[in-house]
Symmetry: C2
Subunit: 335 residues, 2 copies
C-alpha cells in the first residue's frame, strides 16, 4: 500500500516554510507484533512545530532531515497486531504528516471515545489545545471569580478555549488578537468581555482601559511586545502562564526586551511555564469536562480545514502569518 509522507528537507532558521519540506511516496511496511496501522483522517499544524524542527535545545530531539514530519494526527485503526488496539478504534497521537502510520502504543496520546463529536475536535479543543487551556488556566493560572484574565492569541485554538473556560470560572476576560476580524470573533464567538487589537496604534491605551483593576491572570501565548505591555498592569499576586512565544521568530540568540523581574517582585507575581505533556495522567478528567461543555454549547471552537496532504508544507508559515481563523487542520480523503 502506498503512503504519501511529508518529510523535513532542510532545517529552517526561524519559522518553517513550505520549501523546508518535501512530499515522498513510501510503501507501508508489514506490521510487526505490537504494532497497528492507523489511517489518518486529520493532520494537525501547530506553532510548536517550529520548535520540533529547530536545532536549538528544546523539549525533544529535533526532527531529522529526511524524516517524516512529527505531527499530531487522528484517524482510525485499520489493521492491528496489538491486543489493545482494535480495527475501528479512533486514536489521536503523534502519527506524523502522512496518510498511514505504523504505530505502537507510545505514539498514541489518547483513544478518542467521544464518538458523538467530530473526530477533528480531538486535534483541537478536545485535544492538546483544549487540554492546554484547561490545565494552564485552572492549574497554573488559578482564576478566582471576579478576576481579570488577559489572553494573548485570544482567538486562537488555545486562547479561545482559555477565554471561555475563564468565563465559566466567573472571570472577566480580555482578549488580545491581531486585526478587527479576530477581535470580533473574540467578543462574538468566544464571549470575551473586551478584545484588543495589538496592531492598533493605541493598543497600550486600550489595554490600560480594559485592565483598570489590574491583570490577575495573564495567559501568554506570544511573549514579546504584547507581554511587555500586559506586565505593566499586573495586580498583586498575579499569575502569568507562559504557554507559547509565538511573537518571537527565533530564540537563537534570545531577543532582548525590557527586564521583567521588577514587575514579578513588586507585584509578588508568579510566572509559570506550561508543557501539556506533564499533565498526561490527567487528560481524561479534563476531556470529560471539555466534551460536556461542548455538548452543552458552553464551549465552542473554530476550525480551518485545508484539504489534501499537499497543504501541509506551507501550513506552519500560514499559522505564523496569522491567516487562519481557527485551529488549522489538514483533512485527508481516503478511498
Amino acid at each position: 500500500m502506498r503512503n504519501t509522507q511529508v518529510c523535513l528537507a532542510s532545517r529552517p532558521n526561524g519559522i518553517p516554510q513550505a520549501e523546508n519540506f518535501t512530499l515522498r511516496q513510501a510503501e507501508v511496511p508489514p506490521l510487526r507484533d505490537g504494532q497497528f496501522l492507523v489511517r489518518n483522517d486529520f493532520l494537525s499544524a501547530e506553532p510548536a512545530m517550529r520548535g520540533w524542527v529547530s536545532a536549538a535545545a528544546n523539549y525533544s530531539t529535533p526532527v531529522g532531515i529526511g524524516e517524516v514530519m512529527r505531527a499530531f494526527a487522528s484517524g482510525e485503526v485499520v489493521a492491528s497486531q496489538h491486543p489493545q488496539f482494535a480495527v475501528g478504534d479512533k486514536v489521536m497521537g503523534m502519527l506524523g504528516w502522512q496518510e498511514y502510520a505504523v504505530a505502537e502504543p507510545a505514539a498514541v496520546t489518547r483513544k478518542v471515545r467521544e464518538s458523538d463529536l467530530p473526530l477533528s475536535l480531538s486535534l483541537g479543543v478536545l485535544g492538546l489545545n483544549g487540554l492546554t487551556a484547561y490545565f494552564g488556566l485552572l492549574d497554573l493560572g488559578q482564576p478566582k471569580p471576579g478576576d481579570t484574565v488577559v489572553v494573548s492569541t485570544a482567538a486562537g485554538a488555545v486562547g479561545s478555549a482559555v477565554g471561555q473556560i475563564a468565563k465559566l470560572s466567573g472571570c472577566r476576560t480580555v482578549g488580545i488578537a491581531g486585526g478587527a476580524a479576530k477581535c470580533r470573533a473574540c467578543v462574538e464567538t468566544f464571549g470575551y468581555d473586551a478584545a484588543i487589537d495589538y496592531k492598533a496604534p493605541d493598543f497600550k491605551d486600550q489595554l490600560a482601559a480594559a485592565c483598570g483593576r489590574g491583570v490577575d491572570v495573564y495567559f501568554d501565548n506570544t511573549a514579546g511586545a504584547i507581554s511587555d505591555a500586559v506586565l505593566t498592569h499586573l495586580s498583586v499576586g498575579a499569575r502569568i502562564v507562559i504557554c507559547g512565544t509565538a511573537s518571537v521568530a527565533s530564540w537563537d540568540p534570545p531577543p532582548m526586551g525590557p527586564r521583567l523581574e521588577r514587575h514579578i517582585l513588586v507585584k509578588r507575581a508568579r510566572m509559570s511555564g506550561l508543557l501539556i505533556f506533564d499533565y498526561a495522567h490527567r487528560y481524561e478528567e479534563a476531556i470529560v469536562r471539555l466534551a460536556d461543555w461542548i455538548r452543552a454549547g458552553r464551549l465552542t471552537c473554530r476550525e480551518d480545514i485545508l484539504d489534501g496532504i499537499e497543504a501541509c508544507p506551507g501550513a506552519i508559515a500560514q499559522l505564523y502569518r496569522g491567516e487562519n481563523s481557527g485551529k488549522l487542520l489538514v483533512r485527508l480523503r481516503h478511498g
Copy 2:
C-alpha cells in the same frame, strides 16, 4: 529631649548617596494616648531603601523630601501611653533613621523576645533578612533534598541565610558573590558547597561546572547578567525566587536584557516574586526555628556595624558598592 534625625534632602536618580540626606535636630514631642517612645539602639541600612526614596511606583508611597528616612530599627520602649507596650520592651519596626521614635503599634514589626540573643540580630538574621530567606526559600523555592540551590548575593544578609537553610534542607548549595573574600566567606562561614565569583572572567564556565545537574532552585537577589547566566541552567520544574534586583541601578526605564520566557516555558519553571510583609502572620513560626538554629550553631550571620547616626547617609551607597561583609547596621550610643 533632643532627637537627631536623618532626613531625605533630595530625590536620587538611582542609588541614594550621602548628599541625598541631611541630619536634623528635633525636639521629641510629648506622647499622645496610644503612643510610646522607642530609644533606637540599632538602625538598619538595606538595598530596599533605594526603592523607598524612588519616585517610581513601588510597594509604598515614596519618602517625602524633608521627611525622616524610612528605616527599620530596633530599640527599647522608654516611655509609653499604650497598654500593650511597656517600658523595657524590646521592639523592631519601621522606626526611622533617628535616635528616638514616637511610635504607634502599626510601626512595630515585632516585639523581640529572644532576650538571650543580641538585639542587633532582630534587624538581620532574626529579622526581615532571615524571614525573607526562610519564607522565600521554603515557601516559594520549595527545596527538596538533593536539589541544587543557587543563591545570588550569597554572602549577603539574606543570601547567607538562604544558603544555610538550603543546607539544612538537604540541598547542594552554590553561592554567587563578588570577589574572592566573599566567595571564601560563602564556603568557610556559610557552608556553601561551591562559591563562584561573578566578577571572574570565566564566571559562566564556573557556573556551568557547578550546576552540571541543573539548577532546581534559584534564589535571586540581583537580576541582570548574573540571572541571565543562571537561567540557562534551569532543570525541569525549577523554582526561581525573585527577592531583589540589586544589580540593576534604575528601573525607570527598565533596562533591556535577553527575554527569559523560553527558559520558563521549556523548563516548566516557576518564577515568583517575594515581599516578606505578605508573611507577617507567620513571622513567629519562622523566628522560633531561626532562633533555635542560631542557638544550636547551625545558622550564623555576619554583621557590619557602623557607629553613630552620622554613618547613615552614606550607608546605602556603601551597600551597593558591596563594601560591607555582613548585615549593615548603625549603632547608636546613648548617654
